[in-house]
Subunit: 342 residues, 2 copies
């Protein structure tokens, strides 16, 4: 029986997680849950450590983890995000951050041209190297002569495995995004790995864009994209952009995956939104579609598809939260999706 760790986290995290769990419960599947209630900013403030080695060991014993959201104004400027979210990504080697962006309903698109609205793509973001390694430091810190260094590390192992995963995920087309015209060393490596990996996939349409052009193209021609593969920081930016084009962050799901072990950390792309926490207004769809990604990977693809259909139905019938034009609260929006499921 698959065991799922649950980390509700901060802000709206617990509220949206509650809806995702209610939905999973209602499916009557063979899933059990281990809830880590204390992994949050409060614990970080009280003890200096929100995710202990013991927590990490419990997570490792599970088959996947569902995360609500991490972030709190009281810990801004600290290592909090690094010590929880980035620690999980790095220590569990969750090297592929898989972020689908699919428009749930035409009315949600911010775009004027009806023919451009139906974005349906996936950003595959390298998740364990690049600018996120925390390798670097500062010379003469705090002085007016300070020099700060952050090292962008790209390895053949890291780049080729995420490209392989992206190519394996695609059915139609893959676009590799880098900045090899300005950032030469990682750029050359991405280009080389891309050339090597795509040679074996003549069935796919493959292309390349510089990141600035890719951002622009996502806006001017979003439906042209199928799978986009890119490094850690460009993936961070482009996936938020794609989420916005797909109707806003409230509906965006993701999984931080190790394709070899199959372990995934499933999380909505949105943050903890402290301004609306506790008001029953947060959109639970990002968390619910993250649970659908989980269902797919723990052997329940039919249920995953049913959840997606239920979400689309609820959104089409405007039984959803205010960010999607509805009038329901978090709980009622979750309930509407569960009702559509049965």
């Amino acid at each position: 029986m698959p065991l799922i760790t649950v980390i509700p986290g901060d802000g709206i995290g617990p509220e949206v997680t509650e809806q995702a769990l209610a939905l999973l419960d209602g499916l009557g599947l063979d899933l059990s849950f281990d809830v880590l209630d204390h992994v949050n900013a409060g614990t970080f403030l009280a003890t200096g450590c929100a995710l202990s080695d013991d927590d990490l060991a419990r997570i490792r014993r599970s088959d996947g983890a569902l995360l609500g959201a991490i972030g709190d104004a009281r810990v801004a400027g600290t290592r909090y995000a690094r010590d929880v979210l980035l620690r999980l990504r790095f220590e569990l080697d969750l090297y592929a951050n898989y972020r689908p962006a699919q428009l749930l309903h035409d009315r949600l698109s911010p775009l004027r041209d009806p023919d451009r609205r139906a974005i349906d793509c996936v950003i595959v973001r390298e998740n364990t190297e690049g600018l996120y390694t925390d390798i670097g430091g500062a010379l003469r810190p705090g002085s007016t002569a300070e020099v700060a260094i952050d090292t962008e590390v790209s390895t053949h192992l890291g780049v080729s495995r995420v490209i392989d995963f992206a190519l394996a995920s695609a059915t139609r087309a893959v676009c590799m995004v880098d900045k090899s015209n300005a950032v030469p060393n990682g750029g050359r490596l991405w280009q080389q790995c891309w050339l090597d990996a795509t040679a074996a996939r003549p069935d796919l349409a493959t292309s390349h864009l510089y990141v600035d052009v890719a951002a622009m193209r996502l806006l001017s021609d979003p439906t042209a994209f199928d799978v986009i593969v890119t490094n850690n920081s460009y993936g961070d930016i482009l996936s938020d952009l794609a989420a916005e084009l797909a109707g806003g962050l409230g509906t965006s799901a993701s999984v931080n995956l190790n394709p070899q072990t199959g372990f995934g950390l499933y999380e909505p792309v949105h943050g903890s939104a402290p301004d609306i926490a506790g008001t029953d207004t947060a959109n639970p769809i990002g968390a619910i579609l993250s649970a659908a990604l989980l269902l797919e990977r723990v052997g329940h693809p039919a249920e995953a598809a049913a959840v997606r259909t239920a979400v689309r139905m609820a959104v089409a019938e405007v039984r959803c939260t205010a960010d999607l034009g509805g009038r329901l609260g978090t709980k009622a929006a979750g309930e509407a999706i569960r009702a559509a499921l049965h």
Copy 2:
């Protein structure tokens, strides 16, 4: 008499530069020009060097430079962009890349919501450090054990001077964009310089966003921005995004500026677009509005304003190229703006 270096460059560069020069000529001002026709990909291919030390010395003797576009498929994967454009930015210490994004006409916005369309902001991009320093290298290059390193360098000098410039450029609000929650060393330095510099400007509304959120917010609420200040790579991405929101790259102007010496390298944000080069279809407005930025800085602000008004008139009357909904070629579109000027 101000002396302006002109670098037509590659692809559509010479065509759009021709229109910018025709317009400057028509103003009858005390400007003289030194044209460096050979700074292009052809020269790079023939000699391995497109911008010689002698060229650089000529440029240094001038009061500003007008660049068309740099880039050619035949030099993809080489150091060409570095050796021309990035060399000019670094060696002339043009540390502030100033990129206005202003919607010229409602019909050009890609956005559905009429209230969100009128973007009118400026991206101030740090232009001489960050990920663009070319500091780094590769270990075991070409092997499956390769490790590639690119160093993101941020200095107190570099960060504080570009923030100062951004604050001096703003009348209403400045938003600083970084990724200090994940990239800690440069992040801390940007935060510290920002804190120090904004303390002296209580008259401005100041705010901070992480780059992923900033990209999303540009799309969801573009009119909320006035001046955005950020590092070299985030500025690259956000300025292309802002350009697309302002009606597409064809109309976007920029200057790479050293605010102390006053020297500016003026260039449209678009590239060399080799696919349409020589077909008289390129939009000359990016180059013409770059010339307007030049006029402003060499003591002709009234003429700069007149050029901007003429551009708006031509666009409003649909006397423009196809990318803006018009039916004119490059030459005729340039002519239409000159006609509107008189």
